[in-house]
Symmetry: C2
Subunit: 321 residues, 2 copies
């Protein structure tokens, strides 16, 4: 986010705004209840922790961790001695109410997952949602995320992007999500297990076009950090041929679709959109219509009518990428 | 990212993998060239910087900063004395080649923006892309991002989400992007200027449904951090009525579309998808077809045929949100 001069006016003291529907301030818990700090932790390198994350982890009375063994390693490295309790998908139903009671009692709580920024696909998402629903204070302590580390390392990301998590391993939903990724001109980021990388890259090449640029990021922030860039077809072949080490979870980044707009990169990155972007989006709409069963010519005609973009400019995305 | 036991096996020493198409390791620059460290910096609170970010900023010979005045404040707070050079949209054409020459000469370079994780909408994206194209080492140093801080603070995010940056202020592309957001069942995150918040929330309510859950996050990580949650209609009214302070850029989070699947939340967050998710996606496909000009009944029939989901389950998303 472009912050302007206000972005660095941080301070450790201050008061919260008064009134409002559900104001949340890191310094002013509502009605004496505890604050739920959602703390990002390293994705590999234990040095990737913020000063404030350590301060919060040291100052709260309890830390709920997805994997206490991993979090103990982080604590040992940085001299944190706070009490840890496990909170993961398998004990969330029982442990969640205890954690909410801890917060209601006025004590602060920090939530961490085994790596990166706690998100909603982790069990912590339910806790955050439940505490937010009680108008409790939810305080994000920002830090590492594999999603953004992969996006940055790829060197191929566009200004807008979508995160798709893990694809289902098979079946109709996998096909539907692949089709959706193929029809989206934006950058897509997803996770994959190493043993499934070749199959997924192959499916992505089929869905997005073999020439679509992509990157495969492994072991980000660790010693053997590796980023490979190439077309989806090249990367699929490398993975199938054993040229990509099958160890550690993988972040796959699919570049934005630049087919048909060769000069787009720099101008679009600087300007954040414009005419070429509208064309790319309209083409994606055509692909979605085609994926939904429409004939290509019919789809192009409809989208042309809806957007005012000449129909001939809406062809080509399917072939090229 | 769920890391398992490998996620915390960080170390400060080690060797890089040999061979491969374009391997990049933080410890082994390719061919004696410099490494381009892409360093995340605070989004407000100056304590939101990682130990490794400080280590990198101290150890490189040059830091390219979007706003050297802001970065100097960070440096002063943490005792960093590295030479700074400005690199922003207005001087990128002239400064970019100098920075690439610095890297080619074998010296490391760190890139920072004024706040958060450098992304492609910043001028740095071009530098990263150019260095990656030369097979240069691009090393992400992960840390804060307003996008993820907003996602976490919202308490309403789903397991998959899209980042849309700033919407255009008016015109056809704004309408097209609003329609796309309305047709996407996933969580959407976007930025907005405070003076335009009421208008954008109103447009989002029209595009996504008045009852769609959302959150408005202001001044994240700062003293006056504020998160308001409510329906898009409620938030639009609050912004229009002056109940949301019009200062500081805003992160708007639009929750995933749970209309028609009231029991979905917990099961879906824990299971990461499944049948309800397939229905939500199919409904979004219907909305996209409708947005593209199809009659609703016709759209539902096509999607039902393509997905096998009963047609009656594909109605309702348009009315409810």
């Amino acid at each position: 986010m472009r912050g302007g001069s206000e972005s660095a006016t941080a301070s450790e003291s201050g008061t919260a705004p008064a009134g409002g529907a559900a104001p949340v301030s890191p310094r002013a818990p509502a009605g004496g209840a505890g604050r739920l700090f959602v703390v990002a932790t390293p994705i590999g390198n234990l040095g990737d922790v913020t000063l404030r994350a350590l301060e919060v982890l040291r100052s709260v009375s309890l830390v709920a961790a997805e994997d206490t063994r991993l979090t103990r390693r982080l604590f040992a490295r940085h001299g944190v001695a706070t009490r840890l309790v496990s909170y993961h998908a398998r004990n969330a139903a029982a442990r969640g109410p205890e954690l909410l009671a801890h917060l209601r009692g006025g004590a602060d709580l920090a939530l961490v997952t085994d790596a990166g920024t706690p998100l909603v696909s982790d069990p912590g998402g339910e806790l955050v949602a439940a505490w937010a629903a009680e108008d409790g204070a939810v305080v994000p302590i920002p830090g590492p995320s594999s999603v953004l580390a992969g996006l940055v390392a790829s060197g191929i990301a566009g200004p807008r992007w979508a995160f798709e998590g893990f694809l289902p391993r098979s079946g109709r939903e996998r096909r539907a999500r692949l089709a959706r990724i193929g029809g989206d001109p934006r950058t897509t980021i997803l996770f994959e297990a190493p043993g499934r990388l070749a199959a997924t890259l192959g499916d992505l090449a089929a869905a997005c076009g073999e020439d679509r640029r992509a990157a495969v990021c492994r072991e980000l922030t660790k010693i053997h950090e590796e980023v490979r860039r190439g077309s989806l077809a090249e990367l699929a072949a490398a993975a199938a041929g054993g040229a990509i080490v099958a160890r550690g979870e993988v972040v796959v980044v699919i570049g934005d679709d630049r087919s048909g707009s060769p000069g787009r990169g720099v101008a679009d990155a600087a300007g954040g959109g414009g005419a070429d972007d509208a064309v790319a989006r309209a083409r994606a709409d055509v692909e979605l219509l085609v994926a939904g069963g429409a004939a290509r010519g019919d789809a192009a005609r409809r989208v042309a009518a809806a957007t005012g973009i000449p129909r001939r400019r809406l062809y080509g995305a399917g072939e090229a990428g």
